[in-house]
Subunit: 336 residues, 2 copies
């Protein structure tokens, strides 16, 4: 703000503002000698172009936004890390907005961003599927490039970065069964999301593949309320005919499952085998170490940001309907 402006540079150099601007932009219209003079003085005064003036005139800037449900979650933190690694290297600035699974908040952020503050947007949507129209509206209003990752709106035509949720869930469930589980349950969210539906599909197909009859009570719906989740799981695992396997499709549900088993004196993996969908670094240190299906969170962020910037810089229009699928990683530890 307090720095020197192009006008002052021009004055001191005895040049016009437009010449200075072009020289700094390395335009072919400017002679090498002049460019050198300009650059040197600019360096001497540590000249930095005013981004507001520049963005205003060019009608776009090098700022993007990331909208995610939560940052206190290893998956999203890793994704942001991946995004930032790209935006940093490409000299973009990254805004961050947290929705905390609140649809109204998500809409509000989107509406706020219609002001044109940014040149592109990376999103992982919040829980629930009732409405995705605000994304469409945002796009209609701004025509700005949008990239979704992980939690994507399946019905909308936007570029997406996702994982092979179906295949890897099928795989994980199969491993539970092969390890001896006769009745593995799926612990998932009450909120219907594309990702969790895919995981469920993989889970059910694995059961079918191994000749296990699926019944509705094998899907355990948990919530955002950890206390309530504990109660739900405890009740189910206190039954005589309790499950002997858990595929926890959400990070925090694996932890609660562990707690319930510990408190009910159910031995893992003898009584209950567990695989958790999680990126927790402490998975290996739990007792027993937790087998995990982990998402390539950092790479998802990287891919999403790379795609977005490509779209912003129009190096590739083809990207518009790209769907990038990255593989989840299954790590078998002592819990199965």
């Amino acid at each position: 703000m307090n720095g020197i402006s192009m006008i002052q540079l021009a004055k001191e150099l005895g040049l016009s503002v437009s010449t200075v601007s072009k020289a700094l932009g390395d335009s072919h219209e400017i002679s090498a000698a002049t460019k050198k003079r300009v650059l040197e003085l600019a360096k001497k005064y540590k000249y930095k172009p005013n981004p507001f003036a520049s963005n205003l005139r060019k009608k776009k800037g090098k700022q993007i936004a990331v909208i995610i449900p939560d940052i206190v979650n290893n998956f999203f933190a890793l994704a942001v890390d991946g995004i930032e690694s790209v935006t940093m290297s490409k000299h973009y600035d990254t805004f961050i907005y947290l929705t905390h699974e609140n649809l109204e908040r998500e809409k509000a952020v989107l509406e706020h961003l219609e002001s044109g503050l940014i040149s592109g947007l990376i999103i992982s949507v919040c829980n629930g599927r009732e409405g995705y129209s605000h994304f469409q509206e945002f796009y209609e209003a701004t025509r700005l490039p949008l990239v979704f990752f992980d939690r994507v709106p399946d019905l909308l035509q936007f570029p997406k970065v996702i994982t092979n949720n179906y295949e890897s869930s099928l795989d994980a469930t199969s491993r539970l069964i092969k390890a001896g589980s006769k009745r593995p349950v799926l612990v998932t969210t009450t909120e219907p999301m594309f990702t969790s539906m895919e995981r469920r599909r993989g889970y059910q197909d694995a059961l079918e593949k191994h000749g296990i009859v699926f019944t509705d009570d094998m899907i355990i719906h948990c919530t955002d309320d950890m206390e309530l989740n504990y109660a739900i799981l405890r009740k189910i695992f206190s039954q005589k005919k309790r499950p002997d396997g858990i595929f926890a499709s959400i990070e925090k549900y694996a932890i609660t499952s562990y707690q319930v088993c510990k408190d009910l004196k159910l031995a893992i993996p003898k009584d209950v085998k567990v695989i958790g969908m999680t990126n927790l670094r402490t998975a290996a240190l739990l007792n027993p170490s937790l087998s995990t299906l982990s998402q390539p969170a950092f790479d998802m962020g990287k891919e999403a940001a790379g795609l977005l910037i490509k779209m912003i810089e129009k190096k590739s229009y083809a990207a518009a309907n790209d769907i990038i699928v990255l593989p989840n990683e299954l790590t078998i530890r002592d819990s199965i």
Copy 2:
């Protein structure tokens, strides 16, 4: 970008642009009737002021930046969560920059931000103490408000949000000793930071208070290299005269300590008592559950953002040298 502008609003209303601007700004110079007309049309067209034009003219905007070493770390993630909760409610936009403990990167970000993109800055500095001059230079160049949190440059006069590292370390160490540890060690970083120095001071004073003679080898210096840390700790705990207590002053060192004890078949807490400085949510699920000294990360973020915005909006000049101290929380579990 594609939205309607003030000029078009003015045209359609048969008013001048300045009238529209003032009406939208709820100026007293404009009659209630006119304000109503303007507001209604603005709403109808979903008018959003162009932030670049506005910021350019006003010479400031509602954007701030957060510079932190890492986001894949519960402490910083929580802090960002706290910051965002404030910036959201105050309608500020939050940029995020990660230094990954790289001083050059930190300097580069700061220099980039000298362009005037933001109106304020929240920082937790990266490892090492050799240079803090870039912060001073940034301030001289921009005169922008700056707030540090947790990892603060002790020698610079800026507002800070920290925790009672000294007192709580003294307390934690005392608990280790009272629990029976005759020779508790401090596992800390090689990088000299204000925070870790304070923790060390608390640790040493606790030893003295309980009549335990301190020797240099009771400070175990770990690095960023997890493998190396493992080797260092393993070597020390393999000795005949091994320590019987650990105060791990950095999150990840507690985990490594657990691993080493597990592999060396040292029972926690019988053979070794452990307290870790960490915000890990899984601390309670480790085997045995880890006693923690945790930082009020979310609140630190909240306080820092609140302070910053107060300074930006000049509601309080007095904030300039504020130091806010929040208490760490000691949670005793099974590891001592």
